[in-house]
Symmetry: C2
Subunit: 334 residues, 2 copies
């Protein structure tokens, strides 16, 4: 019987403090046997996502708290190796919530079969998965950019942000990214087709941002918060929409995210809406169809940071909060 | 020729300071003669509204700044006394933007004919006018309360708030008001049908508010801001909606209105939307039909504070920012 390896949450970070490698622990066990109705999956790729930081705390986030000493939850793609469930057979490629481990059991409820064909299987954790549908939901259902409008997205080269910008361009809007460092900014413009991308680490970030916004901001897809949100909020046009998707700058207490003057919302008639893609599963079919069409047509590009082996997951995860990843952060498990 | 009397803006209040009687001045002149295509209206009632405070400042509000030494703008109902416009004849009852004066000229564009019948003419400045449609737009188009939900409205006995609560009740929701003083709170519950109304001047306002919200807040129709908004924001349920209509607590610098922690919007998936009823005139026919139906059926109640004579307009207006009005603030001009 093969050995299963997984990462458990060993301890919780102190409130408003950085998570550390010591919060995680590698555990080994025999790979489990599927019971009646169950499916055993060999996970191929694990998705690392900022929302997992919220789950590490006991305080109520929008997702349930991660139980201590249990394997960290997370999205995975993999292959069925044994099945007592008539809907799945060995060899099936699936996307599921296998967590930070090599093998996982599922009763089939949380598994979806996929047919990768020419598209690499890990795309179901990126542009064809939760990040892609998140981008789609915020752009299409909250911001709904018109052709003449300007949409700004922070963490622009990330798994979500990169899709946001390309959906904005597909809608005919001006897409302006915010990213950390000249390399990411150049990639956003040259490879992803953003009209501009501003480096938030630049000394004159404020002036560069203003320069990239000759017609102000109509839509802001906010992944970061903190100073980034604060500076953007000075550029809103009337009837601006904010899709509030993440506040990674505030997750570990680095920068507070606040709106100092609510009258901005009133005077400019803004809409600010927080959302989580899993709240409305009815969006997925339409989103997947449109995203799949863009990918098939060669009109949606993305980039991956791939860590090798389950042992590398904690460091790769912690690196995301330092902006070390470039594109979708994955862990290759096979 | 009769004498026209009007109130002009004599000077602007200092930023973040109270407006004073000295900011206004009474002027007299001959009543104007209608030119080609023009209509002369004898104004019967003038509407006083909080948005006018924003217009007194030079800083950009959501409405154009009131020019100095010109008659203050404002909604009016009145009667046509002379007309060179084929669409209007003497005796027609109209609602328009006649401003703070006894007589006004209009080219007809901003006038709407009304047929008061059994409904008092000044209702077109209240539940059948801008305040009523404002309430309708925020309740129906932003909050959209479901029957099991709780809707909170501040300034609950005002021209807008009173309609908000009654529309919430008509939709089957729990309506909780916030108002200043026991008399207004009793009126909200006994006459307007609110389920509860909390006195923000009470020492234990915080505890009283919590007690009135056994199932939290699903919709907040915000007219006040400041501490009132701050305390309400602790009670939001997931997917709460805020219709941001006014921030009267902040208009004169008394209390800042802010959202200290944006993560609240994210974690609870809130929607906060600023709106102004004049932004979408297409809402008016539907709103007027529904509001008119409720009034005709005896299901919409309201109250007026009526100041007598144009000379009383400045004091009545300034009193609104102290909560001295009880219901819709009008000035009777005839």
């Amino acid at each position: 019987m093969p050995i299963n390896k997984g990462i458990v949450l060993a301890s919780r970070p102190a409130p408003l403090s950085k998570a550390t490698p010591e919060n995680f622990r590698l555990v080994e066990s025999a790979s489990p046997e599927p019971g009646p109705g169950q499916v055993l999956v060999r996970n191929t790729y694990l998705s690392l996502d900022p929302y997992m930081r919220g789950r590490m705390e006991e305080t109520k986030s929008y997702v349930a708290s991660q139980p201590l000493l249990e394997v960290m939850g997370g999205g995975t793609v993999g292959e069925v190796v044994a099945s007592n469930n008539p809907s799945f057979k060995p060899g099936d490629k699936i996307v599921g919530m296998g967590g930070w481990q090599l093998y996982s059991l599922d009763d089939g409820q949380a598994l979806r079969k996929i047919e990768p064909g020419k598209i690499p299987i890990q795309a179901w954790l990126g542009p064809l998965g939760m990040p892609g549908v998140t981008a789609w939901a915020g752009v299409k259902r909250i911001i709904a950019p018109k052709a003449v409008e300007t949409l700004v997205v922070s963490a622009a080269t990330g798994a979500v942000g990169s899709v946001v910008g390309q959906l904005a361009k597909a809608a005919g809007a001006r897409a302006v990214g915010i990213a950390g460092g000249p390399e990411k900014c150049a990639y956003a413009v040259k490879e992803l087709g953003f009209d501009a991308c501003v480096d938030h680490r630049a000394e004159n970030f404020d002036a560069l941002l203003a320069g990239a916004l000759p017609r102000g901001i109509d839509g802001l897809f906010e992944n970061v918060g903190g100073r980034c949100f604060d500076l953007c909020s000075r550029h809103f046009n009337d009837f601006g929409r904010v899709a509030l998707c993440g506040l990674i700058a505030s997750y570990e207490g680095k920068e507070p995210s606040s709106l100092r003057d609510l009258s901005l919302i009133l005077v400019k008639r803004l809409k600010i809406q927080g959302f989580i893609v899993s709240d409305d599963m009815s969006l997925w079919p339409q989103a997947m169809m449109e995203l799949g069409g863009l990918i098939a047509g060669g009109k949606l590009h993305w980039r991956e940071s791939v860590a090798e082996g389950i042992e590398s997951a904690p460091a790769a995860f912690l690196g995301m909060f330092e902006g070390k990843n470039f594109g979708k952060q994955l862990v290759k498990l096979v």
